[in-house]
Amino acid sequence: MRETLYSIRNLTVDYHTRLGNLRAVDNVSLDIQRGEILGLVGESGCGKSTLGKALLRMIQDPGEISNGELWFNGLGRNWYDGSNLMDLSDAQMREVRGKSISMIFQDPMTSLNPVQKIVDHLTETIQTHEPTVSNKAARARANELVVRLGIRDERINDYPHQLSGGMRQRVMIALALSLNSDLIIADEATTSLDVIVEAQFLDILRNLCVEFDLTILLITHNIGIVAQMANRVAVMYAGRLAELGEVHDVFKRTLHPYADGLLKAVPNILMDEDELYKMEGSPPNLIAPPPGCRFHPRCPRVMEICSQRVPPLVEQGEQHYTACWLYEDSLESEEVAAS
């Protein structure tokens, strides 16, 4: 088992909207292991992006992290390694961002400043975190990064709109690597790319991961990518973890009915039309979620207890967790006896 890079404990993120309090992430605990590629999947609105942002403490008004601990162990290189990031001040948190933890966003076009040259994006990031670096040295580093990612170095003086989508996304990776981050969070990084470019991007990512001993949190709704890239996968539903485990295990022996449905829903070319799987119902309203297990209104294997109590996340196999009453027979019978 690997070391833990980032230990998330009881994380809860709330959004205070006009309609009420929306709990986007509900008491999630998760460990990200050093050197792994962890896939975080789920439907739109399940809270995975929010979780990603929370790891950088980038949740803004009207949202806030209401509860939780973010134990960032890091690699022991920085003064904050080993501390709870929730304890850091804003100024201290700024040090962490971009340096130890980086984020790659979904849309590379809008994620780059249209009036700033590529090289300036990079040098600015470098010099913000390492003020002693000279302009010349910063530019040299920027050049090196860009070339390593397969972009011709004269393009470094271009503006974002002059680059192609794939190139821009590589620039985003370059930015993430500019300070040798320990953890890279890729938030739907390939969603806006076409399939071929996406494949190239993932290739680069995988190679870099090996070369630099990176840890990657791959947030996506595309299970195919997770299957290709990730070591472990976490399935989220309505702000909670449904299943967590090695990719191999989760795919082969899917435990949670939601994860099961998710996998079944991926069509493949050999299927017939009428074999297309459709999951019943729609994602819940997170302001007033269903009681008990949030998936129960849609679950094909729902039981009575599912609407009454929230199932805990329990280890069911070797590093394979799920939160489902189907596997908690012992507890269930206890409850029945007590009531």
Binding site: V96, S102, F105, N113, V115, Q116, T125, T128, H161, L175
Partner: protein, 338 residues
């Protein structure tokens, strides 16, 4: 200039021409829809028929309308705006005399508007939904709702009459005349001739009118700046920058403002139109001898060639500034430049 920019400028130029044509035609016809006889309006009751007729011939009013129109257009191309109906001077000379004063006022007011507008607009955007934001927004609406001339009068009353800190009318104190007129803007001329007393006098006279006009327009400018900044601050690259550990102040004032500055520049074009309109009122209030005052005075005289000339001149300036601003925009936005 790259081809992209060149094409952009050419397109803008081509668009300006029909717009100007429409405007000029509009003014031409508007000024000829007066019910009644223009000759009578100028010469008043009691003029004999001969006088009226000779007036009509002299001013070309006896020609059929389309002939008048063509002569009018022809004259415009030669920058000949005709002659004043009540004074025997070419309109263009009158314009040349009075326009620099308006320019000086407009520039000074623009400085006030831009400074106040950007300062408060950016601040409000940065502190969105907080008390200061609402305070600034409401103040800006109230500012714009104040009638320009009323603000001028109030300032005249309080600052000028009651406290006597600043002069309330004219461009210079009585008896003070500039030695040389280079640009027509007394403040610039004074600097150029190293005449410091003149400079101070001119500036003192400029302050109240410029502040009056500038503050009222700042009301709009604050809101537009704020809206632009908000739009920019919502953009993904700001969030991405934040994720890289960049400071808030850097994000707002460097990244945000640089992106917002581009559309804000185009707002300056809008400002010029408002400035010129407001100049009429400000100049009347402060007895500032500019083109706006000329327009008002000539209205009473019914001297409508001068009126026509002045208004068209205004329109030309607005169109020209618009064009310049758009070209400037093209320069600033790398997406158009490259």
């Amino acid at each position: 200039m790259s081809t992209g920019l060149r094409r952009y400028v050419v397109v803008r130029l081509l668009l300006t021409i029909p717009m100007l044509l429409i405007l000029v035609t509009l003014v031409f016809f508007v000024l000829r829809i007066i019910p009644g006889d223009p000759a009578l309006a100028v010469l008043r009751e009691g003029a004999s028929e001969e006088q009226l007729q000779s007036f009509r011939v002299a001013t070309g009013l006896d020609q059929p309308l389309h002939v008048q129109y063509l002569e009018f257009l022809g004259g415009l191309l030669r920058l000949d705006f005709g002659e004043s109906m009540t004074r025997n001077v070419p309109v263009i000379d009158e314009i040349k005399t009075f326009f620099p004063a308006t320019v000086e006022l407009a520039l000074a007011a623009m400085m006030v508007t831009t400074t106040v507008g950007i300062l408060f607009g950016v601040y409000a955007a940065h502190h969105r939904k907080k008390a200061s934001d609402y305070g600034i927004r409401i103040s800006s609406i109230i500012l714009y709702s104040i009638p320009i001339f009323w603000l001028g009068l109030m300032l005249q009353m309080i600052v000028g009459a009651k406290f006597g800190w600043l002069p309330v009318s004219g461009r210079l104190s009585a008896g003070n005349t500039p030695e040389e007129t280079i640009t027509g803007l007394y403040t610039i001329d004074a600097i150029l001739t190293l005449n410091w007393d003149l400079f101070v006098d001119a500036v003192r006279h400029l302050i109240l009118p410029a502040v009056t006009l500038g503050l009222v327009l700042a009301g709009i400018f604050i809101r537009l700046t704020r809206a632009n900044m908000l739009g920019v601050l919502e953009q993904d690259y700001i969030t991405a920058g934040r994720a890289r550990g960049l400071r808030e102040r850097v994000l707002v004032y460097k990244h945000g403002l640089r992106n917002a500055a581009i559309p804000i520049v185009t707002l300056l074009g809008l400002q010029v139109a408002l400035l010129l309109a407001g100049a009429i009122l400000t100049e009347t209030t402060f007895s500032w001898p500019g083109l706006g005052r000329l327009v008002v005075d000539r209205i009473y005289d019914r001297d409508f060639t001068t009126l026509q000339g002045s208004i068209i001149f205004f329109a030309l300036i607005v169109a020209l500034v618009s064009l310049l601003v758009d070209v400037l925009y093209g320069f600033l936005d790398p997406r158009i430049r490259y």
